[in-house]
Each structure stands twice: as structure tokens, then as C-alpha cells.
């Protein structure tokens, strides 16, 4: 009798299953999944809030899926999403190749999918909302170069530039580095060869690399970070060396970044940082949401297209004009 227990229970379960499966599916409102990988920086936090709040306001059911930096987990989450009948997916994965694979998965199942801010390596599939990283970076660096020219005129010495590069598997990081290099190229006579620190988007790695570089060359006076979240790390390295000074001071290191988060906004206001390239996170969120909701309404299963966020550079010079439209400054003011 004891032996039969497992089998009889199994049989019961099977029966129960059949009953449940035969039940008609509920008629539901639209459901959109937002699959992301941790919200480790202010930019992602703001983006996440923008997307989720807007969707909820429009009466769409949002399923939030945090992949936790685990590619397999995110894959399972997206597959779950598709299997559970999502009407649309908004995705940010860890690297361009994962994005391509997940976009292909969604399109194979005829679920409209848009990638948010991080583009897949294959730009032809899916709705791709991305900032024009090269342009934004270049603009930010050009604002820094204005300061560099002034310094060069005063001292006659070439500046020593350094760039904190992001994870090269992230296409955005690649583009930002390109923008930096392009800007420097057009003013090559001002600069020595730039030092490159590959941070892999990790502040510990950035800290170690920056410390080593500044120790090796104490004259580094022009630093660009591929993302604003590394400013505290930069401060941690420069301040003990007496190089964390406001603009105008002789020891001021020309600093620039990218994102436009509240930290950068504050530092620009205070004068420590010279410029930052702003990704308009609210615009990008809107672009992603609009295109998904559009596709759902029109019944498009495999919408494609690249939606570019042109972005702009926020600097100490144009702070009065551009400050109010920078999302980071908006967040900062809301906190007060």
C-alpha cells in the first residue's frame, strides 16, 4: 500500500492538472514585462521608475523581472514572460549579445520587444531605444576642452588626459570611448596620449586602476568617466592628493562624465565637475513605452527600428539653460 502512495498521488496531480488546463484563460488587461539587470546606478533607478510608473498610469499590468546579473536567470525570466502571455517586453540585458539573443527569442514568439538604453549587437531586430552615445560623449568632452584650451594658454603645457572606459561588451561603453577619442583627435595638439582604464562598470576595478594611474603620473589633469556613477570613486582618489578642487583653482582637474544623474548635477553646480553628457532617461523611457504600446495596439508582432536619443552636454557654462531639463537635476531638486 505504501508503495502505491506516490503513484496514486501522481495520478491525482495529473488529473488536477488536466482540469486546470481545461479552464478558460481569463480575459486580462495588457501585460508588459520589464526585464532588467539590477538597478545599481541612479540612471537605471530613474529609468526603472519612469517606465514602471508610466505603464501603471496607463492601466497596463507591469511584471518587473530583476535578472540579478545572471544571464541564465534573465533568460528564464523572459521565457516565463512569453509563456505567460505577455503582450510586450521592455528589456535591458547585461551585454549586446545577450540582448540580441533575447530579442530573437521574443520575436520568434511574436511578442513585440523594445530594448531600453543598451542596444543589442544586431541593430536590425527589435525596437532599439538608445542614446547617441558617441555624440553625447563628444559633446561632453568638447565642453571640457574649452577649459583645457584656457589652461593650455596659461601654462603652455600639454594636458594629461585619462578616460575611465566602461565594460567593452556594452556597446554604449564602446561608443562613449569613441566619442572621447574623436573629440581629443580634433584638438590633438593640446593633449598627451590618453590613459585608458577599463573599469568593466565596476567601481572597485575603477578605483584600483585610477589609483595606479594617478600614482604613475601625478600630472593627470583631464579625466573623463564613461558613467557619472564613478564620480565618488574619482573624488576618493583625487581628494587625498589635494587635487579635488573647484574650477578656477590651480589644482583643479578638468572632469567630465556621462549620464546626467543627480550626483553629477550637484558636482557641476558646486564647480568640481566641468561637464556631463546627458542621456535623457525620461525621453528614452517614453520612446520605449510609446513604441511598445503602439505595437500592441496595432497588433505588430515584430516591430523593428532604432529610436535615437540625441542627448546633450550639461556644463558649468550652460547650467542655467540646460539644468532644468536634465533629469538628474530634476531628481536632485525633488529631493530637497
Amino acid at each position: 500500500m505504501k508503495r502505491m502512495m506516490p503513484w496514486s498521488c501522481g495520478g491525482l496531480a495529473l488529473a488536477g492538472l488536466a482540469v486546470l488546463a481545461a479552464m478558460p484563460a481569463e480575459a486580462a488587461g495588457k501585460k508588459v514585462c520589464y526585464a532588467f539587470q539590477d538597478l545599481s546606478t541612479g540612471f537605471w533607478g530613474a529609468g526603472h521608475a519612469a517606465i514602471v510608473d508610466t505603464l501603471k498610469k496607463n492601466g497596463v499590468e507591469v511584471v518587473e523581472l530583476n535578472g540579478g546579473k545572471d544571464a541564465n536567470r534573465q533568460l528564464e525570466q523572459v521565457k516565463d514572460c512569453i509563456a505567460q502571455g505577455a503582450d510586450g517586453i521592455i528589456l535591458t540585458a547585461d551585454d549586446g549579445d545577450s540582448e540580441t539573443m533575447l530579442v530573437a527569442l521574443a520575436q520568434e514568439a511574436d511578442v513585440p520587444i523594445a530594448t531600453f538604453n543598451r542596444p543589442p549587437s544586431d541593430l536590425s531586430k527589435g525596437i532599439i531605444v538608445v542614446a547617441d552615445n558617441e555624440s553625447v560623449a563628444r559633446q561632453a568632452v568638447e565642453a571640457m576642452i574649452v577649459q583645457a584650451e584656457a589652461k593650455f594658454k596659461k601654462t603652455g603645457k600639454k594636458l594629461h588626459p585619462l578616460i575611465l572606459v566602461g565594460d567593452l561588451a556594452d556597446p554604449n561603453a564602446v561608443k562613449r570611448r569613441e566619442g572621447f577619442m574623436n573629440a581629443l583627435k580634433s584638438h590633438a595638439d593640446l593633449f598627451e596620449t590618453p590613459v585608458e582604464i577599463n573599469t568593466k562598470w565596476n567601481s572597485q576595478v575603477a578605483l584600483a586602476g585610477l589609483e595606479a594611474a594617478v600614482t604613475a603620473d601625478p600630472n593627470i589633469d583631464f579625466i573623463f568617466t564613461s558613467s557619472d556613477f564613478l564620480f565618488p570613486t574619482i573624488q576618493g582618489v583625487l581628494e587625498p592628493r589635494g587635487k579635488w578642487k573647484k574650477s578656477g583653482d590651480d589644482n583643479h582637474v578638468i572632469l567630465g562624465g556621462l549620464d546626467g544623474d543627480d550626483g553629477a548635477c550637484k558636482l557641476i553646480r558646486e564647480g568640481y565637475v566641468d561637464s556631463t553628457g546627458v542621456q535623457d532617461v525620461y525621453l528614452e523611457a517614453k520612446l520605449a513605452l510609446d513604441s511598445i504600446q503602439d505595437a500592441i495596439a496595432k497588433g505588430e508582432a515584430r516591430p523593428n527600428g532604432v529610436k535615437l536619443d540625441p542627448g546633450f552636454a550639461l556644463s558649468q557654462a550652460n547650467y542655467a539653460e540646460k539644468g532644468p531639463t536634465t533629469w538628474g537635476c530634476m531628481v536632485l531638486d525633488a529631493k530637497k
Binding site: K2, G68, G85, A169
Partner: protein, 391 residues
């Protein structure tokens, strides 16, 4: 020697324990019997599924079930190996690292193209890996050899583990921990933390290709939407089940299986009775490495890349958790692959429902950890009960 001569000894003792408790009232008695049953995990899984399905009806759709099953197979493959190790009173912490390292090895062989910007920093760039791809890029048989190399890598790491544990009597915990650190770092170093993508489709289909699929519904359209096709028999399913069945047969019916159980129950007695203890320990760890390699094949195929991070992080939680909650005892000498299968199904189901509840990754891991703790406590309780009931 008794009428019911085929029933396992433990089941009889559990029955005896249950009858002994008869005086305590039948409801408590009933729960005790369920709790102590060998198939407790099966009952728990069914109960959990039915109660969760009542709250989230989407859980019980054939589509979801088919989807969840696809997550079961790779975990089953690797947990099969861990089951063997736990039966001989060891543990293999390096399985996750083996998965990553083997994945990288496979990528180096099979990749059909490689981006110099990403992988140019690899120590193997220019020699094994070039812009045109990996070592055997594009050549026929590259998948076969790539898969073969992944298995060899898994077996070799297992052999290294087994050698140090058997020969030098070092604790399995320590040895496999060192392997974990060594080989996960090796994988990351070889790829400089990048993923090797562009794997040939013959390989990636191993991760999700269908052999038999179902479609529910009327045939109104000329073409059937892909999402409505439910995978039933897939490559990962066949591979993982074949592995599990082969290992279970080995455990139950072969001399090696007997040796494994004997060593787990009492290694001293086994040694004196002529069991080649050292050799068996090495074999078990080699098998564990091989199982991890098979899982690596399935995971790499479905993720489409040679990734050093496969199996990193909380993967061990799933592997060991599924094995322990399936009923394989941490005190050794007791375990079955079929139990691990049910344990894996339970874990996947658990993860699925926790996703439904929208819990963040952190809370999911906390819950899983709690379940493993409960499973270990149940194991201890069962052992104590058994000890108390014997003469």
C-alpha cells in the same frame, strides 16, 4: 525472510515508527507518516503546485509547464553528479566553476567569429582564437570535438578533485573550494571576462531544439504561431534524462553503485571488506565533473555563448538544494537520482512561483536558502528517528 521481501529497509522502519506513534492521535500520525516517507518531496511538490496554481492559475497552463520543464533539464544533469558525491559523504563545490570553465573551452573550439575589441586581450588570442573564430571554426565536426572537449575538461577537473581527496585524505569541502576558485578564475582570465559568442547553430540547438512538440487549439491559420507550439521532447530533455537514467541504473544495479553506497554508509567497513575506496572516490568526482560539463553544454547552448560566468553565484544553491531536498542524505549512504529529479522539479517550481510573486532576486535566494535549511533539518530529524527506533 518475510513476505514483502522487496520493500526497502527504511520504509519498514518508517512504518514501524508510524505505528509506534499510533497512540498520539491520527491526524498527527498522518502528518508524521507523510513527513517520514521516502517520497515526501513528491507529496510536497504536488501539494505546493496545486495550492500555488489556485492562486496563480497561469501556473498550470500547459505552456507554463512546458516552459518550466525546459529549466529542469540542465539543473537535473548537474545535480545528478552532486547526488553521487553527497552519497559518498562528500560535496562538490566546484561544479559551478566547471560549468563556466567548460563553457569557455567549448567556445574556444567552436566559435565561428570573434570580436578583437572584446576578446583581443585574451591570452589565447592569435593562437587559438582569431577574428575568424575558434580553433575549429567552421569546420565540420567542430561541434563534436567542442562538446567532447567540454566533457574532457569536466572529467579532468573531477579527476584532480578526486585525486587530492582520495590520495591525500583532504576534506572534499576544501579541495573543491580550491578548484572552484582556481577554475572560475581561469575561465575569466582566458576570456578576460568576455563571452565567446557566435557559436554554430548545430550546437545551440542542443540547448532548446525540439524533437516532438504539441499544439493545442484549432487549426484556423495557415501557419501556427511559434509561441503556441509547446515543446515536449527536446534535446536537453533527452540528454539530461539519458544521463540521469544511466546513473540511476549504475547506482542500483552495478557493483560500482554498491561500492558508492557502502562507502557513504561506512568507509572503514568498506575498505576492510575489500572495496577499492580510493578508486571509487576518484570515479565519483570524475562523474560529478562530467555531469557538470553536460549541464554546461546545455546552458551554453541555450545562452548562445561560451560564458565564464555560467554556474557562478547562486547556482550551487540550486544544485545542492535540489539534491538535499530530494531526500539524498547529507550523512551519506542514502540517495537516488529519481529523488533528485523530484527535488529539481520542486526547486524550479519554487523559483517560478517566486518570480510570479515579483520578489527581487535577493529575496528569492533567501527563500531558497531557507528551504535548503529546512530540508537539512528534516534529514537530521529522519536520521534521529531511525536511530531511536532501532533495537
Amino acid at each position: 525472510m518475510g513476505g514483502d521481501s522487496r520493500s526497502p529497509a527504511h520504509e519498514r522502519l518508517f512504518e514501524a515508527a508510524a505505528i509506534a506513534r499510533d497512540s498520539r492521535g491520527s491526524i498527527v500520525n498522518f502528518f508524521r507518516r507523510i513527513l517520514l516517507s521516502e517520497y515526501f518531496i513528491l507529496y510536497l511538490t504536488i501539494f505546493y503546485f496545486l495550492s500555488m496554481a489556485a492562486i496563480f492559475p497561469d501556473l498550470a497552463t500547459p505552456r507554463n509547464i512546458s516552459n518550466q520543464l525546459s529549466n529542469v533539464w540542465p539543473l537535473l544533469a548537474v545535480a545528478t553528479g552532486q547526488t553521487l558525491v553527497i552519497i559518498i559523504l562528500g560535496i562538490d563545490l566546484s561544479q559551478g566553476a566547471i560549468m563556466g570553465f567548460a563553457s569557455v573551452a567549448g567556445g574556444f573550439v567552436m566559435a565561428t567569429a570573434a570580436d578583437p575589441n572584446l576578446l583581443g586581450g585574451s591570452p589565447l588570442w592569435g593562437t587559438v582564437l582569431t577574428e575568424g573564430g575558434g580553433w575549429l571554426a567552421g569546420r565540420s565536426g567542430s561541434v563534436l570535438i567542442g562538446v567532447g572537449l567540454m566533457l574532457v575538461v569536466g572529467g579532468l577537473v573531477g579527476l584532480i578533485n578526486g585525486y587530492f581527496i582520495a590520495r591525500f585524505r583532504m576534506p572534499a569541502f576544501m579541495v573543491t573550494l580550491v578548484s572552484l576558485m582556481l577554475f572560475s578564475s581561469a575561465g575569466i582570465w582566458l576570456t578576460q571576462s568576455q563571452n565567446i559568442v557566435n557559436l554554430p547553430p548545430e550546437f545551440t540547438q542542443l540547448g532548446s531544439g525540439d524533437l516532438v512538440s504539441f499544439y493545442f487549439g484549432e487549426k484556423v491559420e495557415a501557419t501556427i504561431k511559434r509561441r503556441d507550439i509547446l515543446s515536449f521532447l527536446t534535446y536537453p530533455m533527452v540528454i539530461a534524462l539519458a544521463l540521469a537514467v544511466a546513473v540511476e541504473i549504475m547506482l542500483r544495479f552495478s557493483v560500482l553503485g554498491r561500492y558508492i553506497y557502502a562507502i557513504g554508509m561506512n568507509a572503514k567497513t568498506a575498505a576492510i571488506s575489500g572495496v577499492p575506496v580510493r578508486r571509487v572516490i576518484m570515479v565519483v568526482f570524475v562523474l560529478s565533473g562530467l555531469c557538470a560539463a553536460v549541464a554546461s553544454i546545455l546552458y551554453s547552448a541555450r545562452l548562445g555563448g561560451g560564458r565564464p560566468t555560467i554556474g557562478a553565484g547562486a547556482a550551487l544553491l540550486d544544485i545542492i538544494g535540489a539534491t538535499v531536498i530530494g531526500g539524498t542524505s547529507l550523512s551519506g549512504g542514502r540517495g537516488k537520482i529519481v529523488w533528485t529529479l523530484i527535488g529539481v522539479v520542486f526547486f524550479v517550481l519554487l523559483g517560478n512561483t517566486l518570480n510570479y510573486m515579483g520578489l527581487s532576486a535577493f529575496y528569492i535566494d533567501v527563500v531558497k536558502g531557507g528551504i535548503i535549511l529546512a530540508a537539512a533539518a528534516l534529514d537530521v530529524a529522519r536520521n534521529q528517528l531511525l536511530a531511536g527506533q532501532a533495537a
